[in-house]
């Protein structure tokens, strides 16, 4: 009753094609099987598996820092899905048509689902979801800074889909080929859903940009506010990125922050033209020599401030999550107490049966 009722367009088909190729590569790698076994030198075997583009699986030996990097990255990704429900959740009750309400509700629900798969992928590395949630609530693990910006108009539902989900897809498609099997498999599923999210956001903006003057203005204002924060989603420039080199060697990460940012800008320019909206960068222009667009970098000092907690909504987002968690505590305790009572009743019944 909700969902895929838009005409197809090709805004994200290139990326979706990459997801499908990654899925095929994953199957082929699984069919090939891995050569040999860990044997006496598990570290050498780990290096071989990565070199052969095979997947590292939960029971395999892995360097502690590989495990820690993955836990950090997957947890941060999971937290982003859960916190990321809030800016869009903000408009569900006010969505301007019933169809849009249904699609937005389904979208936010998908994000909760993504959070769950990702926590499950992190759990294969020997950490529990509860521990990770506690780290988030204690402010000791981060989520994507983009969610610390407010959603001030309905057009933001379109822009988040187009730019924020678009940037997320550009970031995440390469993760479908990540060396850690459970993460790669979760990402394939997530990217497929994200590409639908991006399309529906683009479609919202397209409708607004071709609507009344007030709707058009709402759309342009929204793109103006979200463009640079979306560029900042790819992280600091390569010269300042601390985790990149090792992650590239381990095939957790496959392209640099700046490469992905450039890919995103190049993808957006044509889409903005179709929308009839302007990207708020007067310096944006095609560079024939590089075969790419020149563009103004986002304000990385602002990115750092937001990461450190000084964005417009950091406090609000965290307090919302803490409050929901706190207010649900009695419900979770009740569920645990009920389950324990049921289990003990069952045990008593089976004991009686055995005695009889």
């Amino acid at each position: 009753m909700y969902g895929n009722d838009f005409p197809a367009d090709d805004t994200s088909s290139g990326l979706l094609g990459e997801v499908e190729a990654a899925e095929m590569a994953l199957r082929e790698a699984a069919e090939r099987g891995r050569h040999g076994a860990a044997g006496a030198d598990p570290a050498a075997y780990f290096t071989e598996v990565i070199a052969a583009d095979q997947k590292v699986e939960p029971r395999d030996w892995m360097p502690e820092s590989y495990r820690a990097t993955l836990i950090r990255q997957i947890a941060q990704h999971a937290h982003s899905e859960i916190i990321g429900m809030q800016p869009e959740g903000n408009w569900i009750t006010r969505a301007p048509s019933l169809k849009r309400k249904a699609i937005l509700l389904a979208k936010v629900q998908d994000e909760a689902g993504h959070g769950l798969y990702l926590y499950a992928a992190a759990e294969t590395l020997g950490v529990s979801r509860d521990e990770l949630v506690d780290l988030l609530l204690a402010g000791r693990q981060k989520y994507s800074s983009i969610f610390n910006y407010p959603t001030l108009s309905w057009a933001d539902m379109g822009t988040i889909g187009w730019l924020v989900d678009g940037a997320a897809i550009v970031n995440q498609v390469p993760l479908c080929r990540c060396s850690y099997g459970p993460y790669a498999r979760a990402m394939i599923r997530i990217c497929k859903e994200e590409s639908f999210h991006q399309r529906q956001g683009y479609e919202i903006l397209h409708t607004l940009a071709h609507g009344t003057p007030a709707q058009r203005e709402m759309a342009q204002d929204s793109v103006n506010r979200w463009w640079y924060p979306s560029l900042a989603m790819f992280g600091p420039p390569d010269t300042d990125s601390t985790h990149s080199a090792q992650s590239m060697a381990w095939k957790i990460k496959r392209f640099s922050n700046d490469e992905l940012r450039q890919r995103f800008v190049d993808m957006c320019v044509g889409q903005a033209e179709v929308l009839g909206l302007t990207l708020p960068d007067p310096a944006l222009c095609w560079n024939d020599e590089r075969g790419a667009y020149d563009f103004t970098q986002p304000d990385y000092a602002e990115l750092m401030r937001v990461i450190k907690g000084a964005g417009p909504c950091n406090r609000q987002r965290m307090e919302h999550r803490r409050r929901s968690h706190r207010e649900g505590a009695w419900v979770r305790s009740a569920a645990a107490a009920y389950a324990a009572k049921q289990a003990s009743k069952k045990e008593q019944a089976s004991r009686k049966e055995r005695v009889a």
Partner: protein, 274 residues
């Protein structure tokens, strides 16, 4: 203004800007004959729409991530049923109103939902008590509609009854868990049942001329609810208070606020497409 407020049927000519429209538009044209069937379908549609709106308020606030997803699912089911029913109601009326005209451009006095669904969410126990009662009514209702002579209602009933069966399972499980969980959850669940208990009465008021007479649903409703409450170690409240009025457009104070939020953006842009 008074004449408008006292009008019991839907407005013959909807105005895009609702209550803020210019004075001449406030005087309604002579109401078209309103069919009984239209009112009946509108009542069910509004129940589902308002229930969806309340359940959607839980999104990002659930006590567990899995429960956040479950509540959104139920909200989506209710919203889906509301859309089908509103579309059908609009066709029955024959005044050119589609699902959005009916959802966004009626005032609270024109809504026909029961009071139960518009009550605030309260804590999770209140929400589960509301959902238990709503689902215990909607399951036999949609089942009966699935076999009724109106083909459109029969098709909607056939689809919605499966969804309602899941809602009933979900709410029943939580009422049992909370009722027979901890002391605190038992206390909260009993308080929730006490608070919400009087409201389903309105849903089961006899109407022999309706496609499904609500009175025929009472036996199913009573048996499901009493068995869940017993298993949950909860007590059936004693009260003779039977609040009603929703089906006639006389609501609690809560509905107008709910609609203000639901309709604000749509009404701010008369005539726009989304």
């Amino acid at each position: 203004m008074t004449a408008y407020v006292e009008q019991t049927g839907p407005r013959a000519v909807p105005t895009a800007s609702g209550t803020t429209s210019a004075a001449p538009e406030l005087t309604p044209a002579a109401p078209e004959p309103v069919t009984k069937r239209f009112e009946f379908v509108l009542g069910l549609a509004d129940d589902a729409l308002v229930a969806a709106q309340r359940l959607a308020e839980w999104c990002t606030r659930g006590p567990e991530m899995e429960e956040d997803i479950a509540l959104s699912n139920i909200a989506l089911d209710q919203l889906g049923a509301a859309r089908l029913l509103l579309t059908y109601a609009g066709e029955l009326e024959g005044a050119g109103r589609d699902e959005d005209a009916l959802a966004y451009r009626r005032d609270d006095r024109e809504f026909r939902n029961c009071l139960l669904v518009e009550l605030p969410n309260g804590d999770f126990a209140v929400t589960m008590a509301k959902l238990l009662f709503l689902a215990a009514y909607q399951v036999p209702l949609y089942t009966a509609l699935a076999g009724c002579g109106d083909e459109r209602l029969a098709a909607i009933g056939a689809k919605a009854r499966k969804e309602s069966a899941y809602h009933l399972d979900h709410a029943s499980l939580w009422v049992r868990r909370l009722g027979d969980g901890t002391d605190e959850s038992h206390r909260r669940m009993q308080a929730a049942v006490d608070e919400v208990w009087p409201y389903p009465h309105e849903l089961l008021t006899p109407d022999p001329t309706a496609p499904v007479d609500p009175a025929t649903l009472r036996a199913d409703f009573d048996s499901v609810v009493s068995s869940v409450l017993t298993e949950a170690t909860l007590t059936v409240p004693e009260t003779s208070w039977t609040p009603a009025g929703g089906r006639n457009g006389v609501h609690t104070e809560h509905l107008s606020y709910l609609l203000a939020e639901l309709q604000v953006l749509h009404r701010a842009h008369p005539g726009a497409s989304w």
